[in-house]
């Protein structure tokens, strides 16, 4: 037969430019295929440490992001009222001088009156450097409303966290247990990892009220009641301890389980017994004597107690046994609240025990620990865990996260083959992290980094009158360990002038008037609220976005950013790099295409602003700018001698890694190398990192630390105990009375579970959650012509039981109420769902007029946000105070504590989801009708 002859070897592109994806914070490597100077096709970079060639839907759709009609085109100055979307286009000169006009005086007189907050910023080490030099204490990124519970829980407990800072040992693990993750920032690696595990036929257990995505492929699904993971985990701990299925050797060597806790009444009670050098003491099994934990040759005893001055001081492990062996943690005692039958809890515990101990693995890697002891093998307990916002976004998330880490540590499955592994720059103990800083000195830089990890009450950011120093009230008694700040409280506090008024709110890539805020409508009102004189209460709002988002309409000055293929970016070891467990790695973005609009990379604009204001740090002694733009900064800035934003190709010849002089060709070398740099951790240094001298030395060489930092995992958290001690009345810095009991209860140094604050929730009994769709990134995906076809509207998924109870059918409408608000939305049935939970996809609903969509776009008519039901404050308790809807320890926004009531409703008259808001005027018009996007012939 004669069949057509086709060209099976067409030319793929003229050129491939390798850079880094930006469609989420996973930061995969991409090959951008160019034809005629245009982007033709994007695929994953096979050599890249993060994605090894694969690419998610968002990444592949990057081409539609780069040509999206919603891209801002020119700086904008508001002409209509805030929220109207009426702007006039201005030149960059005017934009910069306007911003300088608003900010310069603040820098010189009252820097705290500038609040600079950024969304899912991938240049935090730079934006924080800018804010630090501006002198305002009011800087943070989005971590406070995102997942600070995870980050802080991990770092306080084991010097590293889930989030994107660690990963299961995908190649060796034999049992993987996932708590509350729909997608996460380790998006492709988790999928690749699950794929690997599945290919081996190993078991995946998903703990999640909703059985979709990763939980759909899980071999066993635990449809837990939201907010009860802590109970479940502590019960697993109970069962495992009771059966002796714990790794005693590991506990004695690498954790503070053997550390002696001071039992004498007084201000030291509950703190560690320490030697003269301040080193925590353990009883050495060889001598029976209290000895510094890290003395060479010491064999810490998990069991021995120490009598002194008539008081018996016991090791942490005794306290744990006492706490966790108690019957309140027995499966039978928690089963009902967790919604998991007791036998199932036991079965899972048994499976964990079986795999950890009966299927242990050994690698023949020699290594030496920090006490100088040589080990001939690396023993692995191949059970691994991962968790994210499902645990984090509850007001008990910090303690739950700690509980999960304690479980991992009891099994000896952290930093061992088959277990959980840190990615550089982690492990890094709390001690190696800064404490928070917040002095306010006009014209001078802040005295240190804004964000950090308080070690006790002394590190709180309170002024002499005990008032919060920061606008978001981070690091106060309300949320002492708020390591990432509280982005979700900035606008409401600024609007209330509590703790003080600000002058200029400067924000970067955070869609705060829509999907990124709790209480969306309230936030819109706060942003437009005026004082008695008719002036806006927040006088100036500057905002940088790349697209026509909802937030654009609420700013006075818009600094339009480039898209990710049009600018330099730096994904730095100083910040949130792209490392893997066996390699340190960082990456750049570079302009693979030039913008076709009058837009500028935001970081370069920040440099220009700093230069114009002569901010310290940005100018030399003579007042001359140090850097002309961000690329210049990336190459030439040094944090410490020899350490800059990029670790690769340092030194004059580009042959030094980690530490080395500035290399003017560094960016070119990165580009040649595919846009990234990888430094592999040598074999033998790749596990047991916190205690492994080979790793510690390597990390010092890389500039991750300046000296080895071995440490013990903190099953028992001393900093927490210090806050508790204050609440018990010890020390000068005392919590206010209304918080005293809460601090005592919640800051337990050993993980506990507590019911989140349910007062005012009476009658609202159904849990309401959101999940991230894998193919959409928050609000960004909507402007993408390909992605919006996948998720153009979102129903409320309702479990079969509630569907029947309320007489609902697919496509019916329901009114969903919380103590705070009401929405009317279409429903769909889901059977694989916790019986008492409803959910929807996050951030699909859009405001009419935004994102260059036509006003009848389904996102704006049918789509909806759950955010209208969530408030940044809890329902009033009648005590005259409004308590924050946040974790009392970290201030983490408790998005998932939402409780609602649902009832069948008639379809709204216009068949549009409620509430509806009027359209905003689009500063960029709307997109074209039809597309057939092909750049080649």
């Amino acid at each position: 037969m004669n069949q057509p002859v086709i060209d099976t070897s067409p030319k793929v592109s003229d050129e491939v430019r390798k850079t880094t994806c930006y469609m989420c914070a996973c930061r995969c490597g991409i090959n951008v295929h160019m034809k005629d100077g245009k982007v033709a096709y994007i695929e994953g970079n096979r050599d890249h440490p993060v994605n090894k060639g694969v690419l998610c839907a968002k990444g592949s759709a990057g081409i539609m992001q780069v040509n999206a009609p919603s891209r801002l085109r020119k700086p904008l100055r508001r002409v209509g009222p805030r929220g109207s979307g009426e702007f006039r286009e201005i030149e960059w000169d005017e934009a910069i001088s306007t911003a300088v006009g608003w900010m310069h005086e603040l820098h010189e007189t009252a820097p705290q009156k500038l609040a600079f907050f950024t969304g899912r910023d991938q240049s935090q080490s730079f934006t924080s450097f800018w804010a630090q030099n501006f002198g305002t204490p009011n800087y943070a990124a989005h971590g406070g409303f995102c997942s600070v519970n995870m980050a802080a829980g991990g770092i306080y407990t084991m010097g590293g966290a889930f989030w994107e800072f660690g990963q299961p040992d995908w190649d060796h693990t034999k049992l993987f247990m996932l708590f509350g993750v729909a997608e996460d920032h380790d998006s492709n690696p988790i999928k690749m990892g699950i794929g690997k595990i599945k290919a081996r036929g190993a078991r995946v257990i998903g703990v999640n009220p909703i059985r979709s995505g990763y939980n759909a492929v899980a071999d066993d699904w635990v449809g837990i009641t939201p907010g009860t993971d802590g109970l479940f985990i502590l019960s697993l701990i109970h069962v495992l301890m009771k059966a002796g299925k714990i790794e005693l050797d590991y506990l004695s060597r690498y954790t503070n389980a053997p550390v002696l806790v001071n039992a004498a009444e007084g201000p030291e009670k509950g703190l560690f017994l320490r030697d003269a050098d301040g080193k925590p003491l353990v009883i050495d099994r060889a001598t029976g004597e209290p000895t510094a934990f890290d003395k060479p040759g010491v064999r810490p005893d998990l069991s021995a107690t120490y009598d002194k001055d008539g008081v018996t001081h016991r090791p942490v492990f005794h306290l744990m046994a006492e706490k966790y062996l108690s019957d309140e943690h027995a499966p039978e005692a928690v089963a009902e609240r967790c919604g998991i039958p007791a036998e199932r809890i036991r079965a899972i515990a048994a499976e964990i025990a079986r795999v950890a101990f009966d299927e242990a693995i050994e690698l023949d890697h020699e290594w030496t620990d920090f006490r100088g002891e040589k080990h001939s093998k690396m023993i692995g307990r191949p059970v691994s865990f991962h968790s994210m916002r499902g645990v984090s976004a509850h007001a008990n998330g910090f303690q739950t996260c700690r509980a999960l880490h304690v479980l991992q540590i009891l099994l000896g499955s952290v930093e061992v083959p088959g277990g959980f592994r840190f990615k550089p720059p982690y492990p890094k103990p709390v001690e190696a992290h800064p404490t928070p800083h917040g002095d306010r000195r006009p014209g001078r830089p802040l005295n240190g980094p804004h964000l950090g990890f308080p070690r006790g009450p002394d590190d709180l950011l309170l002024d002499d009158d005990n008032n919060p120093i920061r606008i978001d009230k981070a690091f106060t008694w309300e949320n002492p360990m708020s390591a990432h700040g509280l982005m979700h409280m900035v606008i409401s506090n600024a609007a209330a002038g509590d703790p003080y008024k600000i002058d200029t709110l400067f924000m970067y890539m955070a869609n705060m008037s829509w999907n990124s805020s709790m209480n969306t409508k309230g936030v819109m009102e706060m942003l437009t609220a005026k004082d008695d004189d008719g002036n806006y209460i927040i006088p100036n709002i500057i905002y940088s976005d790349a697209y026509s988002s909802e937030m654009v309409a609420y700013a006075d000055l818009i600094l339009p950013d480039t898209t990710y293929l049009e600018r330099h970016d730096c994904i730095s070891l100083l910040d949130r790099p792209i490392c893997e467990a066996d390699a340190a790695a960082d990456a750049i973005r570079w302009p693979v295409i030039e913008p076709d609009r009058d837009v500028r990379g935001f970081q370069s604009v920040l440099i220009e602003l700093a230069n114009r204001m002569s901010l310290p740090g940005f100018v030399d002694e003579d007042g001359n700018p140090k850097w002309k733009d961000y690329a210049d900064y990336i190459v030439n800035h040094e944090r410490r001698a020899g350490i800059g934003p990029l670790a690769g190709f340092r030194g004059e010849n580009g042959d030094k890694e980690g530490r080395g002089e500035v290399n003017p060709d560094q960016l070119d070398r990165y580009i040649e190398n595919g846009g990234f740099y990888v430094a592999h951790i040598p074999e033998g240094a790749d596990y047991y990192k916190p205690w492994n001298t080979a790793y510690q030395d390597w990390a010092v060489g890389m500039g991750i630390y300046d000296s080895p930092q071995p440490y013990l995992f903190q099953l028992y958290s001393e900093p927490m105990r210090k806050f508790q001690l204050a609440a018990e009345g010890h020390g000068d810095r005392q919590p206010p009375e209304h918080l005293r009991q809460r601090i005592k209860d919640k800051m337990d140094p050993l993980p506990i579970w507590y019911e989140t604050d349910q007062q005012g929730n009476e009658g609202f009994t159904v849990n309401a959650l959101t999940q991230r769709p894998m193919a959409m990134y928050h609000s960004w995906g909507t402007q993408n012509a390909w992605l919006r076809q996948l998720h153009g509207r979102n129903p409320l998924y309702v479990p079969t039981k509630l569907m029947r109870e309320h007489g609902l059918k697919d496509g019916d409408w329901a009114k969903v109420t919380s103590p705070h608000g009401e929405i009317t939305v279409p429903v769909m049935e889901m059977a694989a769902l916790n019986d008492n939970t409803v959910w929807t996809w996050n951030a699909i609903g859009k405001r009419k007029g935004a994102w260059a969509l036509q006003e009848d776009a389904p996102e704006a008519t049918k789509g909806f946000l759950l955010n209208h039901l969530i408030h940044e404050l809890l329902p009033s308790k009648g005590d005259g105070m409004r308590w924050a809807n946040s974790d009392p320890i970290t201030g983490q926004a408790a998005w998932f504590d939402l409780k609602v009531k649902i009832e069948k409703a008639a379809a709204p008259a216009d068949v549009e989801s409620q509430p509806e808001f009027g359209p905003i005027k689009s500063p960029v018009g709307t997109g074209p009708k039809d597309l057939a996007w092909k750049v080649g012939k």
């Binding site: 998720h791 153009g792 059977a831 389904p858």
Partner: protein, 295 residues
């Protein structure tokens, strides 16, 4: 299936047209001259008009000629070939009748055969589709042919045959509906077999692959309410068969009245056939709908 007007018009008109040509080819009525011209004009208008209508839904009508090439395997191609042969042969035959007043009956027989074959091949385009169980039955060609013959008989004024053919077509129509209603279930294709997941339990479509619509949904998923369908069936049946039968059986004297009644009968039949054909498409469930939780 989406009841595309072009396809409904095509199948009904061309069915009627080729039905008429069939009878003309057999010499019924054995007209010549101008009268023949009128008959052939009507027949060609219907047959060719129908064929043209069918090109309206093509993405590339200008390439339609390519559709003649695959007669070895494709019923659509065969239909094209048959139609062209039928029209050519009947065209020659018509020339004889109109201009020479003669009936070359061998040619007529061949033309008639190809006319019927055209209708049959049209029906086979639908019948062959296993994906649409309601069409994938012997009754489908029977229905197309019986419609075509009954309509042709009516139009050609075959008084004796027409009532019988109408009755037969009516009966087949009823049988088609009756059998068609259970066809999907009998086909054994379910969401379970479509996904291969049926052995594990009850399968239910959860999230569709896209929240908007697409070609498949527009083309294949069309839901007609049961009650609505029942009503339309009654209308179709009444218009296509009952009324025409009554109209031609009314004892009427006078050629004009008679012709008028026949004309009414034809119009009614055509309207009924259109409704029936609308239902033929609209009620046809494509198995692909299963993937979307629809039928």
């Amino acid at each position: 299936m989406h009841p595309a007007p072009s396809v409904i018009i095509f199948t009904t008109l061309s069915g009627l047209g080729f039905g008429l040509l069939f009878f003309l080819g057999l010499g019924q009525p054995a007209v010549t001259g101008f009268v023949a011209f009128v008959f052939y004009a009507i027949a060609y208008a219907l047959a060719v008009g129908g064929l043209l209508a069918s090109t309206f839904h093509l993405g590339h009508p200008e390439r339609a000629w390519k559709a003649f090439t695959q007669w070895k395997s494709s019923w659509l191609s065969r239909e094209g070939v048959c139609a062209v042969v039928a029209l050519l042969v009947m065209g020659l035959y018509a020339l004889g009748a109109v201009f020479m007043g003669s009936h070359w009956s061998l040619l007529g027989w061949i033309g008639a055969l190809f006319s019927l074959a055209t209708v049959f091949t049209t029906s086979m385009i639908y019948t062959q589709l296993k994906t649409i169980p309601r069409w994938n039955m012997e009754l489908t060609p029977a229905m197309f042919l019986s419609f075509s013959l009954a309509g042709g008989a009516l139009l050609s004024g075959a008084e004796a045959l027409a009532p019988w053919l109408l009755a037969i077509a009516g009966a087949i129509q009823l049988a088609y509906w009756a059998k068609g209603d259970g066809a999907f279930a009998r086909s054994g294709t379910t969401l379970g077999t479509a996904t291969g997941l049926g052995v594990r339990g009850d399968v239910r479509a959860f999230e569709p692959p896209h929240t908007g619509t697409n070609y498949l949904l527009r083309e294949f998923v069309h839901v007609v309410g049961r009650k609505h369908a029942q009503k339309l069936r009654m209308i179709a049946f009444a218009l296509a068969f009952v009324l025409p039968l009554l109209l031609i059986l009314i004892p009427a004297s006078g050629v004009v009245i008679k012709h008028f009644l026949v004309l009414l009968a034809v119009a009614s039949h055509l309207a009924g056939a259109m409704v029936s054909r609308w239902l033929f498409f609209a009620q046809a469930e494509h198995v692909v709908g299963l993937y979307y939780g629809k039928r």
